[in-house]
């Protein structure tokens, strides 16, 4: 797995400049509007999309087909992408938290709002979205998987908004005094990623590489 992860990092190195430029743009935007909470969403989104971007680089040269002629089995190939996904979304989340804390401690962040619950919810949406699209990515390719990700996230956001508007979700959450409800999205995220891995292994059993 180390060799495959190294390959992912080398590909990532190539994308590095683009990501730094996007981050710089987001920071300028955040400072000028004095609003930083949206950075959570963007940085976590970028983190969640890295595995797909490296998969696109693999697809361009049929790397997976080649890798399976090496002493690497299908499960290892899939596991590596999931490890990368977890690593990058975790990395994106940490960057979000650090940036928000930095802003919070400075005068830039006077109007800033940060909540662990919000962070957990955002990360959960991305993890669940990618959990659904990653098996599609292995089976049908990155392009279709990206549509599935967007569709899933729109659907989840729609359900969330409908819950707030129609079901009074917001007031229920505000009145909830038990604390720590962010644990729920974490549990959902972990469950979805585990199920996703097994689904990816299963649906690629008869894939033509």
């Amino acid at each position: 797995m180390k060799g495959l992860l190294l390959k992912e990092l080398y590909i990532l190195k190539g994308f590095g400049k683009q990501y730094l430029l996007i981050l710089a743009f987001l920071l300028i935007w955040a400072i000028s509007t004095k609003s930083f909470s949206f950075i959570i969403i963007y940085v976590a989104l970028i983190g969640s999309q890295i595995a797909m971007s490296t998969m696109a680089a693999d697809e361009a040269v049929s790397f997976s087909r080649y890798a399976l002629t090496m002493p690497i089995d299908r499960k290892m190939l899939i596991k590596t992408k999931y490890m990368l996904f977890l690593g990058t979304i975790l990395g994106g989340t940490v960057v979000s938290v650090v940036l928000n804390l930095l802003f919070f401690m400075t005068s830039f962040g006077a109007d800033n709002y940060f909540s662990w619950e919000g962070l957990a919810a955002v990360v959960c949406v991305f993890v669940v979205g990618n959990s659904i699209s990653m098996p599609v990515m292995f089976k049908a390719g990155v392009e279709k998987a990206r549509y599935v990700t967007i569709f899933t996230m729109l659907l989840m956001s729609g359900v969330f908004v409908a819950g707030i508007k129609l079901g009074g979700l917001e007031s229920k959450l505000e009145n909830y005094s038990g604390g720590g409800w962010y644990l729920l999205p974490i549990v959902v995220a972990v469950l979805s990623i585990v199920l996703s891995y097994f689904a990816a292994v299963k649906i690629t059993k008869n894939k033509e590489w």
Partner: protein, 302 residues
């Protein structure tokens, strides 16, 4: 270690919409170079993908270096002994030679860094250049260097020399000849560039429309097969069982036959000369001719 056959394929069948690879069976003897020829879409790549376990098949068995390829094994380290090169370089384009080296040395326990560097030197490929900046020939050489740097016993090459100029192809064929000097090494090489196969193969396999038409010793093939150039009337006297393919033109008929000696024994030449004078010529048949005649005759007459 020293199995008699590096690859054994039995009744391999794969059905696609519009194409069927039908009951393909063959053996690749250890220590040999087997050339696998056929026109585009004949089934070469499908066969190779099946051999490598990259596609599910409808029927058949494939054994590579003594391992049944369709049984998912937990331990796949034996694949270190196989070097594979496809028709394109499969390393992500943003990687450099040194990245490929670092990646592969963490995948293959048998990775020989010195050998890889030697090949890179020999091929004049910079370790610091990104793959996307290499020419097609350089990319293929990089793939071949990688395939030869982890103690492979079996090289499987799918159109690895296609799209390369004759100089690069010749250089690559030299490398293959060096590789095969070890009698435990085997090469299974598919190509539609029949001249490459003619230069290095010990055996030739021809596939057409998903059916394996023959597997023959290359020298015997070149010795036995011939092209008879004669009149249409003379061509009609050639025994049907010797005809592989026929091309009829207004003033000349060319017939690819599978056994020149047997044709001579049949008295065909004497009879042809008696009837129409010395107008019948026997030419050497190159592997390309065999492929062309068979494809043109649609593989019906063998």
């Amino acid at each position: 270690m020293g199995a008699e056959n590096a690859i054994t394929v039995e009744n391999l069948t794969k059905v696609y919409d519009g194409f069927v690879l039908k009951d393909v069976s063959f053996k690749v003897p250890t220590g040999s170079i087997v050339g696998f020829i056929g026109e585009n879409g004949a089934g070469k790549s499908t066969t190779i993908k099946a051999i490598l376990g990259l596609i599910p098949v409808d029927k058949g068995q494939v054994e590579v270096l003594g391992h049944n390829i369709f049984i998912e094994e937990k331990d796949v380290t034996w694949r270190e002994q196989i070097g594979v090169v496809f028709d394109e370089c499969n390393f992500p384009l943003g990687l450099k030679g040194k990245d490929v080296q670092n990646m592969l040395k963490n995948i293959y326990r048998t990775w020989d860094a010195k050998k890889f560097l030697d090949y890179m030197d020999r091929f004049e490929i910079s370790m610091n250049k990104k793959i996307k900046d290499l020419s097609k020939g350089m990319k293929m050489k990089l793939s071949i260097a990688a395939a030869l740097s982890h103690g492979s016993r079996l090289l499987i090459l799918d159109e690895a020399t296609s799209g390369l100029d004759p100089v690069v192809r010749s250089e690559i064929l030299d490398i293959f000849r060096e590789f095969i000097e070890d009698e435990q090494h085997t090469i299974f090489l598919s190509s539609h560039i029949t001249s490459d196969i003619e230069k290095i193969a010990d055996y030739v396999m021809l596939i057409h429309k998903g059916r394996l038409l023959f597997t023959e010793d290359k020298d015997e093939l070149l010795y036995n097969y011939g092209i008879i150039r004669c009149s249409k009337k003379q061509a009609e006297r050639i025994p049907e069982n010797l005809i592989v393919g026929k091309e009829v033109r207004e003033y000349e008929t060319s017939v690819l036959i599978r056994n020149k000696s047997r044709l001579e024994e049949s008295g065909f030449f004497r009879e042809a000369q008696r009837q129409e004078g010395n107008t019948c010529v026997v030419d050497r048949a190159a592997i390309e001719d065999m492929l062309l005649y068979i494809v043109k005759s649609n593989g019906q007459k063998r």
